[in-house]
């Protein structure tokens, strides 16, 4: 009777410790602000931030902003998936092209592409297209590389099975290569989505246009401190939820064992 209780206590203790430490930290900040150790005009009391949540959600139309940001992220993700997977397949099919450009794609993935946003502002204007294109640009390279990795990592035995069945080039791709590479491709899609989302919220904030990123900028410019902190917490929550969902989906797609 006591053994399962001990096991479950041991199992949940780290999570309780983590959340408890976080709660203790928030409480400490609250006390330090009330004791005037922290300036409340720089760090608002956490209770104020908590109280600002309903106001930010209702008055600042967080839901419609969230839908806008999610729509931009979705558009960027669809573009990234189409062009990224196609790019990866192209590089896999043409080995010479792969040898010539793979290092370039890797270098682009490491470059601070988000700094091109002023250029996109000039080309597309201050609108959602700039934000979507920025997300697309940022997410493209990882998905190309992961698609290539997935296709190139297909087990030799599977390819030989396809050959022994005299599969055509197209059948070989759709029945052997693509299903085998799908888990890795999904890792790339997840990376691409995360990169796109980071850049979308970032550019929204920088150009003061769009959904959740703009909300933070507007609240900060109004010097609504509690609101700014609440909006930041909201964006963090949204990105954590997106991250967890994609992680679950990836685990579900990955073959067992």
């Amino acid at each position: 009777m006591s053994r399962p209780t001990a096991i479950s206590t041991r199992r949940y203790f780290p999570a309780v410790l983590g959340l408890g430490s976080f709660a203790a930290f928030v409480l400490l900040v609250e006390l330090l602000v009330f004791a005037d150790v922290f300036n409340r005009f720089i760090i608002p009391p956490p209770s104020d931030v908590l109280a600002a949540f309903p106001r930010v959600i209702m008055d600042e139309h967080v839901l419609s902003r969230f839908v806008l940001t999610a729509g931009e992220a979705l558009a960027a993700s669809v573009l990234v998936t189409i062009f990224g997977v196609a790019g990866g397949v192209l590089l896999y099919q043409f080995n010479l092209l792969r040898r010539a450009t793979e290092t370039w794609v890797a270098a682009i993935a490491a470059a601070p592409l988000v700094l091109m946003y002023p250029l996109y502002l000039v080309i597309f204007g201050r609108n959602a297209t700039t934000i979507v294109m920025m997300g697309f640009t940022a997410g493209l390279a990882p998905i190309i590389l992961k698609t290539l990795e997935g296709l190139a990592g297909t087990r030799r035995v599977l390819i030989n099975v396809g050959r022994s069945f005299n599969l055509t080039r197209s059948q070989q791709f759709w029945k052997i290569l693509f299903p085998a590479a799908l888990p890795t491709i999904f890792v790339g899609m997840r990376l691409g989505l995360i990169f796109a989302l980071i850049n979308i919220v970032g550019v929204e904030y920088l150009i003061n246009f769009g959904g959740l990123g703009q909300l933070i900028n507007e609240l900060a410019e109004r010097y609504d401190l509690a609101g700014t902190y609440a909006a930041i917490c909201f964006v963090i929550l949204v990105s954590i939820i997106v991250f967890m969902l994609t992680e679950r989906l990836e685990r579900w797609l990955r073959p067992a064992g």
């Binding site: 983590g18 720089i42 700094l115 002023p118 000039v122 989302l197 980071i198 970032g202 900060a220």
Partner: protein, 286 residues
């Protein structure tokens, strides 16, 4: 005789192309892209100056790199040097950005290393606190910039803080992962020699985690650069990020392209350099 000579030169040329198909394809791609670009610039299909001609970009790049347009007082008292020089303003702005990035990397990197060692060294700490880092890591860090402005002001401090926050997460997560990969025998050897915590960190953990640390630093450098430069584009009067947004404000497109070229070359170069210095290219893959 002449015919034979011509033939051998032609054969040699074809032979070189056959031997170096990758180089040939690369040159072909670059030339095609440049030709398409120049064609677009000359055609007037896009808005004027959005795609400036290669000549204009080249001239702007040369001017950016070579024309000394900024007076700069060099004052190094301990060397007895105090003189006024003129330099291209790019270098002064690069210096400002470099300062922010180095300081950001130092603060974010060292704190990330310490937290990574703490989390990687204890199962309880890892399970209690690593999920916070794991889930906060992919959040867009630029959203913290308004807070950083309030805490550290509009000067370089807030950009350093942005760089440090951005750099902290990849370093901490990589080091924590690296700690768990250390061969247990090495740790037992350290303990059997009764090494204290500092000796364990400097003599066992750090050398054994060289690759994860360098990898984290490499990732950290990329995001630190982005964090600091984006902050400069938002609110600053110095740094390369400021130059980029100023070029946008003045609609000086050749300058903007030149700055982006300089930035991409520097960031890709720095990334490759850290990888090479850390010996990432020597890792044996199983």
């Amino acid at each position: 005789m002449a015919e034979t000579g011509r033939l051998s030169v032609a054969t040699r040329g074809t032979g070189w192309i056959r031997e170096h198909p990758v180089t040939v394809l690369r040159i072909f791609i670059i030339v095609t892209v440049l030709l398409v670009w120049e064609g677009l610039a000359q055609s007037g299909l896009l808005y004027r100056d959005v795609v400036p001609s290669l000549g204009k970009i080249g001239a702007s790049l040369i001017q950016l790199l070579t024309v000394p347009d900024l007076p700069w007082r060099v004052d190094i008292p301990w060397l007895g040097i105090a003189t006024d020089i003129r330099v291209p303003s790019l270098y002064w702005h690069l210096y400002a950005t470099f300062y922010e990035i180095v300081l950001g990397m130092l603060i974010g990197g060292v704190s990330g290393l310490a937290v990574g060692i703490l989390l990687g060294g204890s199962k309880l700490m890892q399970r209690a606190y690593e999920p916070f880092l794991y889930y906060l890591g992919p959040c867009p860090k630029i959203i913290f910039f308004p807070v950083m402005i309030m805490w550290f002001g509009v000067g370089p401090g807030s950009k350093v803080a942005m760089g440090a926050i951005s750099c902290f997460f990849p370093v901490a997560l990589n080091v924590a992962g690296g700690m768990r990969e250390i061969d247990k025998v090495l740790i037992r050897v350290g303990r059997s020699f009764r090494a204290n915590t500092w000796q364990m960190v400097t003599k066992i953990y750090m050398p054994a985690m060289r690759h994860p640390i360098i990898n984290g630093m490499r990732l950290g450098l990329g995001v630190c650069l982005i964090g600091a430069l984006l902050a400069e584009t938002k609110l600053s009067n110095r740094g390369v990020g400021f130059l980029v947004i100023q070029a946008y404000t003045l609609f000086d497109m050749p300058l903007m392209y030149s700055l982006l070229i300089v930035l991409f070359v520097i960031s890709i170069g720095a990334n490759a350099l850290i990888g090479r210095l850390g010996g990432l290219d020597t890792i044996k893959r199983s």
